[in-house]
């Protein structure tokens, strides 16, 4: 029986041996080519890096000593060999990410005149998805106003990388047309990478602030989108958004009220203290906790009584926010907090002891600082 089984097994072994040999040769070939590729790439990268290193001082000098963009462009064009223009673009982009004001204008001029903008616009229009995204990102760094219509066009692309790069670029460019385009996108139907879109807005706080306020006043967007705009108005610390945020503090939607309470604290609008004090008794624990925190951030000294009462809130989170807020309200707030060390409820006493204890330890870390 074993012998009869051994015969077909031997044939099978033959076939398998041949296939395994072929497979191994192929795989070893793949491995060898990958290693060779790595060697070639390493050398190429080292060469590129050396070229970039030689260009960097020239660009640094130009940015510090040549205020006229035309002269700067002429020098770059004549001092850097044409063969090194690819590395030159990378060095220019590195610098463009770091500088602002007149130096940025010099770089934008160089990008435009040396054809880098044209090349990236061409990629944005006709390139494959990744190339589009990369070029859009570059156009933002270059702050190319000429590219805005092309960037706006690709906001409807299905690929998220392309869209986010375009949004990022438009926010960096920051012309009214670009800012409007970003705002239309944010308030539009498409949802994408919400918190990263927020970063985009932060690039041009002043330009976006009135647009965000306008949308909040209108209030026609779905609650989720409104909540995002409320967060943004807090993140950009828009003091003028106070009145409209107060409106949302009275919203029937718990999430919107809580986000409004947080943004009011961040925005720095001290006129909202009274409304926030009233929110300390809101039925939502999130709203109560955010309100307490904001009252501390805004240094609302009138809120001491309300915050002291909030120390006996059934929710630990609210108690903690109220205790931390009281430490920010000067000696009076501190005194009110210290008195609650004698509170009857154990958790309240614990929270007060925790916050005061932590404050005490932090003080010890500061040389020469002590609380009377």
């Amino acid at each position: 029986m074993a012998a009869t089984l051994a015969l077909p097994a031997a044939h099978l072994v033959e076939v398998l041996s041949l296939s395994i040999v072929v497979l191994f040769v192929l795989l070893i070939g793949v491995f060898a080519s990958l290693l060779i590729m790595r060697l070639v790439l390493s050398r190429r990268e080292a060469r590129f890096e050396a070229i970039k290193e030689s260009i960097r001082p020239l660009i640094r000098d130009l940015l510090t000593s040549e205020p006229d963009p035309r002269n700067a462009e002429w020098k770059v064009e004549h001092l850097v060999p044409a063969a090194d223009y690819h590395e030159l673009e990378q060095v220019l982009l590195e610098n463009a990410r770091m500088v602002k004001g007149p130096e940025s204008d010099v770089l934008t001029y160089i990008f435009e005149k040396m054809g880098y903008v044209d090349e990236d616009i061409r990629n944005v229009r006709y390139g494959r998805d990744f190339k589009k995204a990369e070029s859009a990102f570059h156009l933002g760094v270059m702050r190319s106003t000429r590219s805005v219509p092309f960037l706006l066009r690709i906001l409807s692309e299905p690929d998220e990388r392309v869209v986010f790069s375009a949004l990022n670029a438009l926010a960096h460019i920051g012309t009214p047309e670009a800012v409007d385009g970003v705002m239309d996108f944010i308030t539009g139907e498409r949802r994408i990478q919400s918190s990263r879109v927020g970063e985009v807005v932060l690039e041009q706080k002043k330009a976006f602030a009135p647009l965000i306020r306008g949308q909040l006043v209108e209030g026609t967007l779905p609650p989720e989108r409104l909540g995002f705009l409320i967060d943004l108005s807090g993140a950009i610390r828009d003091v003028q958004a106070g009145p409209v945020l107060l409106g949302y503090l009275a919203s029937p939607d718990d999430a919107l009220r809580s986000r409004a309470a947080r943004s009011l604290g961040l925005s720095g609008d001290v006129g909202s203290c009274e409304a926030l004090m009233a929110s300390l008794v809101d039925h939502s624990a999130d709203v109560r906790a955010e309100s307490a925190e904001s009252l501390g951030q805004l240094s609302c000294t009138d809120a001491i009584d309300g915050l002291t009462r909030a120390l006996s809130d059934p929710q630990l989170r609210v108690k903690m926010s109220a205790a931390v807020a009281l430490t920010k309200l000067g000696d009076e707030g501190h005194l009110a907090l210290t008195r609650r060390l004698a509170a009857t409820e154990e958790q309240e006493r614990g929270v007060v002891a925790e916050v005061l204890g932590a404050e005490d330890v932090r003080m010890k870390g500061m040389p020469g600082v002590s609380r009377a």
């Binding site: 089984l5 491995f31 990369e134 990478q193 918190s195 330890v361």
Partner: protein, 483 residues
């Protein structure tokens, strides 16, 4: 009627072919995973060029992160690990070091290094953990909290950290590990880009042995001396880097390493935190997340990204390596058995139909099959049931194919990720890829098979590993550097 000799002949030939099939299948699956990993790494590297980490760093919208460092008898490396965590580049984060009833001077080292003072703290317990003995904060760093708790195991310690944490994202880091300065920004990215579906992200864990560490940072990447550390580097590249990247592309990743993983806090609480009765708490948690979110129909994704690097010490003594592999294997058996209803269950999609069967048949039962294969091939040759050609064929798929798969791991590292800057390092790793399959793999198979015995006899406990001070770290007279 069949003779006894014939009967055993049939059995041995059949087993030989089954084991042969097993080797072909496991290595081919690894090969397929590597192809997926190459594609994924290429995309990731390209995408990196479109992200300005400074923008993430400046943004007040970036969610708060709590870095939890569980520690049990970690007096040698804990100060350096906490320092590395405190030096992370991230806008809002806290570091929570949790001592699990250490019997060495872990507490004393931390208290001295960071001027810790005991404070009162009210702690809610959304997830179960042993009693907290004391909470300390630092007079030097505002964002450092130290928890001293009764001994309860690693999962229990992580749960204690979760209970104290206030971040939106929980990052777990082993006490013998160091995270690269911008690793938090990178690991938080999926949470920012896909906030609604990202529930966990795994980062790459690399071997720090041999590297130079200065002020909590790896400043010079080199390969260590010695066999054990080097083969483990190759093993990490093959099994942890290549395979996990491959599974991640299918949202079928079953392990987010405990040494460096990030979790959405709400998702973590929703599934009940870490299970405390297993030594494979990291794998069990991810499997539970898959089970819970797939069952509830929630859109979710568990990612593995190759870039945010965490450096960890690997054991260099044979006993420690054996003990670690035993613990890992036990953890895997426990996790897979706890979720065996997911196996071949189409409700769980790629997890139930692909990664669970892979782990069940290749990783869990694999060592037993492999060991049986080695024994039976010897028998077959001894009794002349199969010729030398089959022996060659068997060794080809068992060893040579394994070497080639390990080489692909090195190629993935060398071409796409390039964390080892020296070409000489790649050449040395190539040498160890051969050694890994000629000896180490077989010994490892034996340890993993033995784990079945300890699985039925031993209780859950932390693995004891003798830690060594980092090379280049602040000098300490009583500690030997690794390199």
């Amino acid at each position: 009627m069949m003779k006894a000799n014939d009967y055993w002949g049939v059995v041995i030939i059949t087993i030989n072919f089954l084991v042969f099939g097993y080797f072909v299948a496991i290595n081919t699956t690894y090969l397929a995973l590597f192809i997926a990993a190459f594609v994924s790494a290429g995309r990731y590297v390209a995408r990196k060029r479109l992200v300005d980490l400074d923008e993430l760093f400046r943004s007040p919208l970036t969610p708060k992160v709590s870095v939890i460092i569980p520690a049990y008898n970690e007096e040698t490396g804990i100060v350096e690990s906490v320092r590395a965590a405190l030096m992370l580049k991230y806008p809002r984060f806290e570091v929570i070091a949790v001592n699990d009833g250490s019997t060495d001077s872990t507490i004393a080292e931390l208290v001295r290094a960071y001027d810790l003072r005991q404070v009162t703290k009210v702690v809610e317990r959304p997830v179960p953990c042993a009693d907290i003995v004391g909470v300390y904060i630092s007079t030097v760093y505002d964002n450092l909290i130290f928890i001293d708790k009764e001994h309860g195991g690693k999962a229990d310690t992580l749960n204690a950290g979760i209970n104290v944490s206030t971040g939106d994202i929980i990052v777990t880091v082993d006490a013998d590990s160091l995270i690269e300065p911008d690793a938090l920004l990178k690991i938080a990215r999926p949470f920012l880009e896909k906030p609604e579906e990202t529930v966990a992200v795994g980062g790459v864990v690399r071997v720090v042995n041999g590297c130079t560490v200065t002020a909590g940072n790896v400043t010079d990447v080199r390969l260590p001396h010695g066999f054990w550390a080097n083969v483990q580097i190759v093993e990490y590249l093959r099994a942890f880097l290549g395979a996990r990247m491959g599974w991640s592309t299918m949202n079928a990743l079953l392990v987010v390493p405990g040494a460096f993983g990030a979790f959405d806090r709400d998702a973590l609480l929703e599934v009940g935190g870490y299970r405390r009765d297993t030594v494979g708490e990291d794998m069990e948690l991810i499997m539970r997340m898959h089970q819970y979110f797939r069952k509830t129909g929630r859109k979710y994704h568990i990612w593995f990204i190759p870039d945010p690097v965490c450096w960890t010490q690997v054991p260099v003594k044979i006993k420690q390596v054996a003990s670690q592999r035993d613990r890992w294997q036990r953890g895997m058996i426990e996790s897979l058995r706890a979720h065996e209803t997911m196996l071949f269950n189409p409700v769980y999609g790629t997890v139930g139909m692909l990664s669970m069967p892979f782990y069940f048949f290749f990783e869990m039962l694999g060592p037993v099959v492999e060991l049986l294969g080695y024994a039976v091939i010897v028998l077959a040759q001894a009794f002349g049931f199969l010729g030398l050609k089959f022996l060659w064929l068997f060794l080809s798929v068992a060893v040579l194919y394994g070497i080639i798969v390990s080489l692909l791991g090195i190629a993935l590292e060398g071409v796409a990720l390039q964390h080892f800057p020296r070409v000489r390092s790649l050449a040395k790793m190539t040498f160890y890829a051969v050694l890994e399959n000629l000896g180490y793999r077989q010994v490892n198979t034996w340890w993993r098979t033995k784990a079945y015995v300890t699985y039925y006899t031993r209780k859950t406990k932390w693995g004891d590993m003798e830690r060594q001070a980092y090379s280049g770290a602040s000098p300490s007279p009583d500690k030997e550097p690794i390199a």
